[in-house]
């Protein structure tokens, strides 16, 4: 199941960008991912939770970029002799066409998330 959740570094970057939603996962400070039982909680509210970081799933993180930043990611398994996966990011137009090819969907997904974070940071310095 851990593969569903964004890594700690990206979870922290999302928190710094204002991600503030209930999640099924949390990174206690300096610790490994903890998945919770029951209803999701917003762990980014440090007044209550101290130095914890809400840990969204990749789907949740991509949805947040669509809703809050109008950044739309398309991850596409490309049918080529090498069967690579690529991604594109749109914001009204194609934001940038990177020369990106990945061996697995998961690698493309993580790199795409990092690029979304980079773009959002540049737009909201």
């Amino acid at each position: 199941m851990d593969i569903e959740f964004v890594p700690s570094e990206e979870a922290l970057a999302l928190k710094e960008l204002g991600f503030n939603e209930p999640c099924f996962g949390v990174f206690p400070e300096g610790s490994k991912l903890v998945k919770i039982n029951g209803e999701p909680r917003n762990w980014n509210d440090n007044v209550i939770n101290g130095e914890t970081t809400s840990t969204p799933t990749f789907s949740q993180a991509f949805r947040w970029f669509r809703d809050k930043h109008n950044l739309h990611a398309v991850i596409m398994s490309k049918i080529t002799p090498s069967n690579t996966t690529v991604y594109y990011i749109y914001k009204g137009k194609i934001e940038k066409d990177w020369n990106n090819c990945f061996e697995s969907y998961e690698q493309a997904e993580l790199d795409c998330l990092r690029k979304l974070i980079e773009i959002a940071k540049a737009q909201n310095p």
Binding site: M1, E4, P22, C23, F24, K35, I36, N37, G38, E39, P40, T57, F58, S59, Q60, R63, R66, H72, V74, I75, M76, S77, I79, T80, P81, N83, Y90, G92, Y105
Partner: protein
Amino acid sequence: MNKEFVPYEEALALKELGFDKPCLGYFIGGQLFITSDTVYNSTEIRVCTAPTFSQAFRLFREKYKLHYSIDYECSQHDHKWGYNYTIYNYNQVVKTNEEYIQSNPIAPAGEWVYETHEEAELACLKKLIEIANEQQ
């Protein structure tokens, strides 16, 4: 947060297709319960795990060699943006001879079918289930 999970009907279909990964939730008779990652599918007819959409799509990539994309496209008529899906069937592919299924195969390029990503995602999942059932 319930947007993360596939609906009950699709969860049951995934169980029949062999989905057996641990999940954060499960359904009993259509009602969703959230738990930890220790829940596996049951032999009970009306009980099944609740995979996330990501987990469901991973099953199709890994077990059925069915890949997908949720495409974001701009209508050439009114310049509004919306979504389509594309399914790539690697089982049918010989190098660059691609076979794929689109949500709107007769529409001109850029015309989309679904207003939201979530609508396109669910439609794509239903089509993947249909294709996998045919393959079995």
